[in-house]
């Protein structure tokens, strides 16, 4: 039997499975995921699902019936714990072995959580639907919420929880929120909007320790000796690629799975989504992208590579967006916080603008706030 096995049943894995069928692949397709759920969409978790504006049903990405109809075998609640590349055999957590002709690794990332904070009641990350179910239950009784880390997850969740009328404090050691992703003028705008909406934003200060009572968090102590009352703490400290299960596989691992420009890790092995570090020839740079559109594009690309044996490199313009209060921030390209911004449409005062992001005399990205159509059109300027 000829078979493609996809490890990881989230956006990239499902896009690969669907793409195989779209591009005419008629052999077996098996999708393996360690969560107990059907594939679901993650971006709304920190937004409409956390707030309760959307019921969970809104984020299921497919039904069993659709998968059956397409001949996609989905196995949930089981992870993979090794692969024998030479024998083309995947080892599952229950010891079962699954033979493949082509393997797609789409195991994603998991949130970082300091080991000493694991298992404390009232402390949670925000990555999975189980996390959000737990957070929504905890928010029923929580008056004071502290978010540690003002990146994408932290800043978006803070905006939602503040709108739910909780006392909302955000702590980040960098001088501005989202400073690892956005140039300072845009990060300053994010800070201003959070403060106007009543978020207590504490940047430039780190967390020293969590104070607990009977195994439950009660306060967060900062390095400036401030003690913040906390009924609920959300940790948003970035994510780590899920590659440990490949440690003895011989596959190249370095900040994710190392692929070539065709998303190939080796003969008959591909990677897609957050876990894949590949060579984007358009930017002459190695990239690993943790954004939603990328997962779908790369999954689709790998599907085409398997189904049609095509030889075009995978060279997209990366895209991300973030919604916080009344800001919709979008960027196309390879954005770095140190890029020089030039506003080409709208104005920063109006909080509606499009800017080019330049480094080394090249437009590497375009960034927009509340001007989506114009931002998309401006991506043509990326050189």
């Amino acid at each position: 039997v000829t078979r493609t096995v996809i490890v990881g049943a989230s956006a990239a894995g499902l896009a690969t499975a669907r793409g195989l069928r779209q591009f005419g692949y008629e052999e077996e397709v098996v999708l393996v995921g360690d969560e107990d759920h059907l594939p679901y969409d993650r971006p709304p978790l920190s937004k409409q699902v956390l707030s309760g504006d959307w019921a969970e049903e809104a984020i299921w990405m497919c039904t069993r019936a659709e998968l059956d109809d397409q001949g996609i075998q989905l196995r949930t609640g089981i992870g993979a714990n090794g692969v024998d590349v030479g024998a083309r055999s995947l080892r599952l957590a229950n010891g079962e072995r699954l033979a493949f002709d082509d393997l797609v690794i789409a195991t994603g990332v998991r949130p970082r959580l300091p080991a000493s904070w694991a298992g404390i009641d009232g402390v949670s990350t925000l990555r999975t639907i189980d996390d959000v179910r737990r957070l929504r239950a905890a928010l029923e009784d929580a008056a004071d919420v502290v978010i540690i880390g003002a990146g994408f997850i932290g800043a978006e969740a803070a905006a939602v929880i503040r709108t739910m009328d909780r006392v909302m404090t955000v702590v980040d050691p960098l001088p501005l929120p989202m400073a690892g992703a956005l140039p300072p003028p845009v990060a300053e705008l994010v800070a201003a909007v959070h403060r106007e909406n009543g978020v207590d934003l504490r940047c430039g200060v780190a967390v020293r320790e969590l104070v607990c009572s009977d195994g439950r968090v009660t306060a967060v102590v900062l390095t400036d000796d401030t003690q913040l009352k906390a009924d609920l703490v959300i940790v948003g400290l970035g994510a780590t690629p899920n590659t440990e299960w490949l440690a003895d596989s011989g596959l190249p691992l370095d900040n994710g799975i190392v692929c070539d420009q065709y998303c190939r890790v080796g003969e008959h092995v591909y990677a897609a989504g957050d876990v894949a570090s590949w060579l984007n020839v358009r930017f002459r740079a190695r990239m690993r992208v943790e954004h939603r559109l990328h997962a779908a594009e790369q999954g689709g690309y790998v599907a085409r590579a398997i189904a049609e044996r095509c030889a075009e490199p995978f060279a997209p313009i990366p895209f991300f967006w973030s919604d916080q209060f009344d800001l919709r921030i979008q960027a196309f390209g390879q954005l770095r916080p140190s890029d020089r911004l030039t506003v080409i449409d709208g104005s920063t005062e109006d909080r509606r603008f499009v800017a080019t992001c330049v480094r080394d005399e090249r437009v590497c990205a375009v960034l927009g706030v509340n001007m989506p159509k114009q931002t998309r059109a401006a991506q043509a300027l990326i050189a």
Binding site: A15, R18, A296, G300, Q330, M371, P372, K373, R376
Partner: protein, 64 residues
């Protein structure tokens, strides 16, 4: 073929416009999807399928 878009789910990435500008557009003021042609001809099938597959908000459904 029938194309259905969900303006509530749309996050205004415009990836559908990039995939097929004859079928999709965006509103000037907020970038939300505008469906230009609910029943595109068969030659658009591949591009419209691609638009649905890459949409980061799962806001496009294609009934074939």
């Amino acid at each position: 073929m029938r194309v259905i878009v969900d303006t509530e789910k749309c996050i205004a990435s415009g990836s559908c416009v990039t995939a097929d500008p004859d079928v999709f557009d965006q509103r000037e003021e907020d970038g939300i999807v505008v469906l230009l042609n609910e029943h595109p001809s068969a030659e658009h099938l591949e591009a419209v399928r691609n638009a649905a597959r890459v949409c980061p908000a799962m806001a496009i459904v294609v009934e074939e």
